[in-house]
C-alpha cells in the first residue's frame, strides 16, 4: 500500500485543483490513554471519515474495514527519538446483510477476535467503526518502563486509486495521546 502522504506528494501537480479540498480529511479528534494497573486502555474518536462513499460502500454489503495502528511509546526527553515499546493492529469490519437488514460488526486485535455484534442502526455502526472507549490494547510487562508513556495511533481506510489503477489507502496522520504512567501495584 502506498501511503496517502506519498501518493499526494506524487500526484500533487497532476490532480485537478480543489479535489482534495472537497472532502473533509479523516482525522483522529481525541485519543486518550489510561493505565489501570499494567493494562493500558485507549479511547478515541475519528472525525471526517464517514463520507458518502464510505456509507454507500457499507450499505452495498461490501465488507468495509477500518484499520487502527496503535503504538506504545516511552518519551525520551533527552534523546532524538522515543522508545517504541509495543504495537497493535486493531481492526473493525462491518458487513451489511441486505436480506436480514443487519449490520454485522467484527472487531479484532492483532487478528484475534474481540467482539462480534449485529445491529439495524447505521449510526451505531458508524459509532462502532470510528470510536471506541476502554479498549484494552497493551499490557505493560514488569520490566518495561512505566513512566512517560504515551500512545500513538493512526487510522487507515480503503480508499481510491492513484492513476486509476493503483489502489491506495486513506490514512490519517499519527495522533499522540496524553502521557501516563503505570503505577506499580506494590
Amino acid at each position: 500500500m502506498v501511503s496517502r502522504f506519498f501518493a499526494a506528494a506524487a500526484v500533487a501537480g497532476l490532480l485537478p485543483p480543489g479535489i482534495a479540498a472537497e472532502q473533509e480529511k479523516p482525522r483522529i479528534e481525541a485519543l486518550r490513554a489510561e493505565a489501570r494497573g499494567p493494562d493500558v486502555f485507549v479511547g478515541f474518536r475519528v472525525a471526517g471519515a464517514l463520507n458518502p462513499e464510505l456509507a454507500t460502500r457499507i450499505e452495498s454489503g461490501l465488507e468495509t474495514v477500518v484499520r487502527y495502528e496503535i503504538r506504545l511509546y516511552r518519551h525520551n526527553a533527552h534523546w532524538l527519538w522515543d522508545d517504541l515499546m509495543d504495537s497493535r493492529k486493531y481492526r473493525v469490519a462491518v458487513t451489511y446483510d441486505p436480506i436480514t437488514r443487519e449490520y454485522v460488526v467484527v472487531e479484532t486485535l492483532d487478528g484475534r477476535p474481540l467482539l462480534r455484534s449485529t445491529t439495524h442502526n447505521f449510526s451505531e455502526v458508524a459509532r462502532r467503526l470510528l470510536s471506541r472507549e476502554n479498549l484494552l490494547v497493551f499490557r505493560v510487562r514488569p520490566d518495561d518502563w512505566r513512566t512517560n508513556l504515551y500512545v500513538r495511533m493512526r487510522v487507515a481506510f480503503d480508499s481510491g486509486y492513484l492513476f486509476t489503477i493503483i489502489p491506495v489507502d486513506d490514512r490519517t496522520a499519527w495522533k499522540e495521546s496524553n502521557r501516563f504512567e503505570v503505577k506499580t501495584s506494590s
Binding site: E53, T56, S60, P98, E102, Y161, I165, P167
Partner: protein
C-alpha cells in the same frame, strides 16, 4: 570455433527473446484465468482482493522495467552519439522508428480500448438501471414493512392481552387465531413459553435482541430459514415479560424478496466497486500494453543492436586496418547481407595481412639480396680493380658504364670515357666498330684482335665482346668488352711460330738436299765408272737436282713473301672486279670444278689494299681448289651490312674439322702433303692489317666457308 561462438551467442539472444515472450504469455494467461475465475465469485474478492494488487504490482514492475530499459537505451544511445561511435545514429533512428511504429498503434489501441471500457462500465450504472433497482428495493421494503408492521401489531396486542405463558393451549390458540408462525414469552433472556407450528425450528432469540427490546420497547429480527422462507420476529416488552410474535413468509415469496435484495445489493456493490472494476480492467489492458511495449523495446533494441553491431564493428575494424593493425577482424554474429559483408571484410583483411606478410618477407629477401649484391659488387669491383684484363661495359644506349684501371691502362684512356672519346682515337676504330656492331639486333658474341702503336711500341690486344643478360624480353642489357693484352702471347707465339717455321724450313730444305746429294754422288759414281748410259744418268741426276732446287727456291720465295709482306696501301678498290680477276686465274685449273662470283655489294668501291686482298683471295681459292674432289663448286660471295664488308669463299670440298679450326691460321699448320703451312697465315696477316677478322665455318650442305669481315670504312 568462431562459428560455434557465434551460434552460442545467437542462441543466447534468441533464448532471451523467447523467454521474454513466454513470460508475457504466462502473465497474460494467468491474468485472464484469474479474471475468468473471478467472474464466479464475489466482486469484492475480484476488485479488492488479490487480482487488483497483483495487476497493480505487475503493472508497476512493468512500468519500471519499461522505463529502466528506455532510460538505459536512451542513455546508452546518447553516450554513444556523444562519443561518436559509428552506427549510433543509425541505431537511434532504427530504434526510434521501431518504437514509433510499435508504441503509437499500441498507445492508440490502449486509450481507445480503455475509453470504450470506461463508457461501457458507466453504462452499467445508467439512470434507468439505477431507478429500476431502487424502485424494486422500495417495493421490497414496502412488502417487508407491511409484514413487519402486522407482526409488530400482533406482538403489541399479545403484550396488551398478556396471556398466561404457562397456558400453552391458550398460546397455541392465539397463534392459530392470529395466523402467526410462533408465539414466545421471555423473562429476561430466558424463553418461558413457546407456541409454534414447528417448535424445533424456532430458536431462542439472541440475548442482544432481547436486551435491545427491553431497552427500546420493541425490536424486529428477520431470519432466513433453511427452506429459504423468511421469519419476521417482532419483539415487544410488556410488563415484566418480553413477548415475541413471528410471521413466516413462504419460500416463493421470500425468494422473490431475496432476489430483489440481492440485486439491489449487487448493484450497490458494483457501484461502490466501480473505480476498482475500472482499475482492474484498465490494469489488464495496461498490463498487455506494457508487456507488448516492453517486448517491442527489447526486440527493437536487439534488432538495432544486431544490425548496427556488425556495422560498428566493421567501422572499428576498418579504423584499425587504416591505422596499420592488419589483425583487425569483425567478430560479431551476423547473417544475411550483413553477414556476407562481414565475411567479405574478414577475407579482405586476411588478404591484406597475407599481402603485407608477403611484402615483409619479400623486403627481407630483397634486403638479403641487396646485401648479397653489394658483396658481389664489391667483389666484382675488387676483381675489376685488380685484374689485368681490361673491362669496358656499355649500356643498351652505348654509354660506358664500367671502365676498370686495366682497360684505361691498355687503351691509354684518361678522364671520362665515352664512346665519343673512343671514336676520337683512330687506333681504337676496331673497338668502336665492334661496339657498334654489337648494337645491331642480331649481333652475336664478337671478338677481335687489334694492334695499338705507341711510344712504348706495338701492343696487341684481344678484344671479346659479350652481350649482358637482357633485363627483360626484347631488351638488351648492354655489353661487356674484355680486353686482353696479348702482346707477349703473340710475341711468344710468333717466336714459337718462327721456331716452327725455321724447323720446318730446315726440314723442307733438308729433304731436297738428300736427293740432290744422292744425285750428285750418283753422277760422280757414273762419271768414275763411265759407260754408255752416262749421259742418261747425268741427265736424270741433274733433272732431280734441278727439280729439288726449284722446290727449294719456291720454298724460299714463299717464306720470303710471308716474312716480308709489303706495307699495306689501302685505296678505293673495285672489289667485285678484283674477285673476278682472282677467280679467273683458277678457271680451268681442274676439270669439274666450277668457280663463280656473287656480288651483293651496294657500293662501287671499298677502301682496301688490292694486291694484299688479291693475294689473300688467291690463297683461299687455292686451298678451296685443293680441298675439292673430282667435282665441286667454289663461290666467292661479296656482301655488306652496317658492320662492314664480308668476303666469303665457300667450297664443296672436304671441309675443315672443328679440331683444326683454332690452329688453321697458324704459320706451321697445313693439311697438304707438301704445303708450307704459310698460306692461311698470310691471309690472316693481311686481314689483320685491314683491321678485319677471318673465321671458318661449315658450308652447307658440305665443304668449308672462309669469311673475311672488314670494317665498313
Amino acid at each position: 570455433m568462431k562459428l560455434r561462438a557465434d551460434f552460442a551467442r545467437l542462441r543466447r539472444d534468441n533464448r532471451l527473446i523467447v523467454g521474454l515472450l513466454l513470460a508475457v504469455l504466462v502473465v497474460w494467461s494467468a491474468v485472464s484465468a484469474l479474471e475468468q475465475r473471478a467472474n464466479a465469485i464475489d466482486p469484492a474478492t475480484i476488485t479488492g482482493g488479490l487480482l487488483l494488487f497483483v495487476l497493480s504490482y505487475v503493472n508497476i514492475t512493468l512500468i519500471a522495467a519499461v522505463l529502466f530499459v528506455l532510460c538505459r537505451i536512451l542513455l546508452k544511445t546518447w553516450l554513444e552519439r556523444r562519443r561518436r561511435i559509428l552506427g549510433s545514429r543509425f541505431q537511434t533512428k532504427l530504434l526510434v522508428t521501431y518504437l514509433g511504429l510499435t508504441a503509437i498503434p499500441i498507445g492508440l489501441l490502449f486509450f481507445t480500448a480503455t475509453g470504450l471500457l470506461q463508457r461501457s462500465i458507466d453504462r452499467w450504472f445508467s439512470t434507468p438501471v439505477r431507478e429500476v433497482v431502487g424502485r424494486a428495493r422500495v417495493v421490497q421494503d414496502m412488502a417487508e414493512k407491511r409484514v413487519v408492521d402486522e407482526t409488530l401489531e400482533k406482538a403489541l396486542g399479545l403484550g396488551q392481552s398478556a396471556p398466561d405463558p404457562a397456558a400453552s393451549g391458550r398460546l397455541e390458540e392465539l397463534r392459530r387465531q392470529e395466523r402467526l408462525d410462533s408465539i414466545e414469552a421471555y423473562r429476561g433472556v430466558q424463553r418461558i413459553a413457546l407456541a409454534a407450528e414447528t417448535p424445533a425450528s424456532v430458536d431462542p432469540l439472541p440475548a442482544e435482541v432481547l436486551r435491545k427490546a427491553a431497552a427500546s420497547g420493541q425490536e424486529v429480527k428477520i431470519e432466513v430459514l433453511p427452506d429459504q422462507s423468511h421469519r419476521y420476529r417482532a419483539v415487544v416488552k410488556a410488563g415484566g415479560l418480553v413477548w415475541a410474535a413471528a410471521t413466516r413468509v413462504g419460500p416463493s415469496e421470500a425468494r422473490a424478496l431475496d432476489a430483489i435484495a440481492a440485486a439491489w445489493s449487487d448493484y450497490k456493490k458494483l457501484e461502490a466497486q466501480k473505480p476498482a472494476i475500472k482499475a482492474a480492467n484498465i490494469s489488464t489492458f495496461l498490463l498487455i500494453t506494457l508487456a507488448i511495449l516492453f517486448a517491442a523495446i527489447w526486440v527493437g533494441s536487439t534488432l538495432a543492436r544486431r544490425i548496427t553491431g556488425p556495422i560498428a564493428a566493421l567501422a572499428e575494424s576498418t579504423r584499425r586496418l587504416h591505422s596499420g593493425d592488419l589483425t583487425a577482424r569483425v567478430d560479431v554474429p551476423a547473417s544475411d547481407e550483413i553477414g556476407a559483408l562481414v565475411s567479405s571484410f574478414n577475407r579482405m583483411a586476411d588478404g591484406l595481412q597475407e599481402a603485407r606478410d608477403a611484402q615483409l618477407s619479400s623486403n627481407e629477401e630483397l634486403q638479403a639480396s641487396n646485401r648479397r649484391l653489394d658483396l658481389e659488387r664489391r667483389l666484382l669491383s675488387t676483381v675489376l680493380e685488380s685484374v689485368t684484363t681490361g673491362v669496358l661495359a656499355f649500356d643498351s644506349e652505348g654509354r660506358v658504364t664500367v671502365c676498370n684501371p686495366a682497360a684505361r691502362s691498355l687503351l691509354s684512356l684518361e678522364g671520362n670515357v665515352t664512346v665519343e672519346s673512343l671514336r676520337r682515337r683512330p687506333e681504337l676504330a676496331p673497338l668502336v666498330t665492334l661496339v657498334e656492331q654489337a648494337r645491331t639486333p642480331a649481333s652475336a658474341p664478337l671478338s677481335r684482335e687489334i694492334t695499338l702503336h705507341s711510344q712504348e711500341g706495338e701492343r696487341r690486344l684481344e678484344i671479346a665482346l659479350r652481350p649482358l643478360s637482357p633485363a627483360s624480353a626484347g631488351e638488351r642489357g648492354g655489353w661487356v668488352l674484355a680486353i686482353e693484352d696479348t702482346t707477349h702471347v703473340a710475341r711468344e707465339q710468333k717466336l714459337a711460330a718462327w721456331s716452327d717455321v725455321a724447323r720446318r724450313v730446315a726440314h723442307e730444305i733438308k729433304n731436297p738436299l738428300t736427293p740432290i746429294r744422292l744425285s750428285a754422288e750418283r753422277i760422280a759414281k757414273r762419271l768414275r765408272a763411265g759407260g754408255p748410259d752416262l749421259p742418261e744418268a747425268i741427265a736424270r741426276g741433274t733433272k732431280v737436282i734441278v727439280e729439288e732446287v726449284d722446290f727449294l727456291k719456291s720454298l724460299v720465295d714463299e717464306f720470303s713473301r710471308f716474312a716480308r709482306l709489303p706495307e699495306m696501301r689501302p685505296e678505293p678498290t673495285d672489289l667485285p672486279a678484283l674477285a673476278r680477276r682472282a677467280v679467273r686465274l683458277f678457271e680451268g685449273a681442274r676439270e669439274g670444278i666450277a668457280l663463280r662470283v656473287e656480288n651483293r655489294l651496294f657500293r662501287q668501291t671499298v677502301l682496301v689494299d688490292p694486291e694484299q686482298i688479291k693475294r689473300a683471295l688467291i690463297n683461299l681459292l687455292d686451298n678451296a681448289l685443293e680441298a675439292c674432289d673430282a667435282s665441286g663448286e667454289i663461290t666467292v660471295r661479296l656482301s655488306e651490312d652496317v658492320r662492314g664488308i664480308a668476303i666469303e669463299v665457300a667450297d664443296t670440298g672436304r671441309g675443315v674439322p672443328p679440331r683444326d679450326r683454332d690452329k688453321l691460321f697458324l704459320p706451321d699448320f697445313t693439311t697438304k702433303g707438301r704445303g708450307t703451312g704459310l698460306g692461311l697465315a698470310i691471309v690472316s696477316r693481311i686481314v689483320a692489317d685491314h683491321n678485319g677478322t677471318i673465321r671458318v665455318e661449315d658450308n652447307r650442305p658440305r665443304g668449308a666457308r672462309f669469311i673475311i669481315e672488314l670494317p665498313a670504312a
